[in-house]
Symmetry: C2
Subunit: 204 residues, 2 copies
Amino acid sequence: MRDRILKAATHLFAKQGFDGTSLSEIASAVEIKKPSLLYHFRSKAELRVAVLASMLDHFKAVLPELLAAAASQEQLASVLRALVGFFRADRDRARLLLREALDRPEELRGLVHEHVTPWVRMVEERIRQGQADGSIHAHADPAAYCVHAIQLVVGGLASADSLGVLLDDDPEAAEARLTEELLRMLHRGLYRPGAEGERPPGGE
Amino acid sequence: MRDRILKAATHLFAKQGFDGTSLSEIASAVEIKKPSLLYHFRSKAELRVAVLASMLDHFKAVLPELLAAAASQEQLASVLRALVGFFRADRDRARLLLREALDRPEELRGLVHEHVTPWVRMVEERIRQGQADGSIHAHADPAAYCVHAIQLVVGGLASADSLGVLLDDDPEAAEARLTEELLRMLHRGLYRPGAEGERPPGGE
DNA sequence: CCTACCGATCGGTAGG
DNA sequence: CCTACCGATCGGTAGG
């Protein structure tokens, strides 16, 4: 039951926000009453923390894959693919993260510093190597680039519903085009043309 | 008084969300009582619509500048600068827009279609011209590129507080670096090197 | 896991 | 612009 509650809460918090979701609403989604829910989670605040922690656990599960991609001689595109894959597997994740960024920036800052910084540092290092061997633009700001890449993946998936209309295409096709263009942009923004191992992800 | 209420509501909605802000809170911010507030705006929903409309009015005021930049032979970078300028002038705008994207995607879709589509179409046209004369990468998806550019500007400013820690710099310096790298990335993601008029915004 | 209930606060109204 | 007040709903507790 605990897992069912977590899942329902994750979905509702992502969709309506923490303040826009009542405990009764979550309880009724898993077919129990509010006091029963409060037996599993002592307070709404505790439930919120648990929802975040469960998403973080899922993230940690794909971390090894991410780090391996960043450390190996593979393209950075594979790191991005892993990241996109994580958020596309469950759209609630992107929405939830964005809401936290808006509602509790200080708190998210701590989580980012603790869980995201390590692998971003590795990616930064890869970028600097690329700059040293001339395959990556010398004026790129590695850390700032990573911030924008994350922003693009997380924010793009969370707000695709609204901004997608600009593509004038059916939702599925729009998402496919957006993802492809995202990978292309991020590749072009980093790699110098003609340099070694710079095949763009979409094939160009 | 109406304007004072609007300003306070804009700030609080941006900071805490619509559901996370009470009418009493807004009223006390402008030193009146809740019933007095409800004389100026008949309901909380009406206040929300008015807040959005006032932001849209400000946006319309810079639209001519934006369209002129898009239509002229100037670089697309100037359009981006105008866009970044609009959101940097008041950070609440980015936060508010992102919240609407999360809370009421269908409604924002309508606003985007009505107010954003026209000038995006112009930018798209400029991109296609660039592709025709070879200055812009042939495989770029003009519409998808615009979506990501908007996403980057709006989302980046709204979530800079959380993601900024990755830069390990003081807030001001971090924001400056982020903006510069954003313009560099968007430029590199579009223009082919060596082509006419492709000076990058930051100077490279 | 439930029913019954708590005080607090919500958006909104009456009436001046 | 205010005081006084409304019903509804909120998060949470008691007690079984």
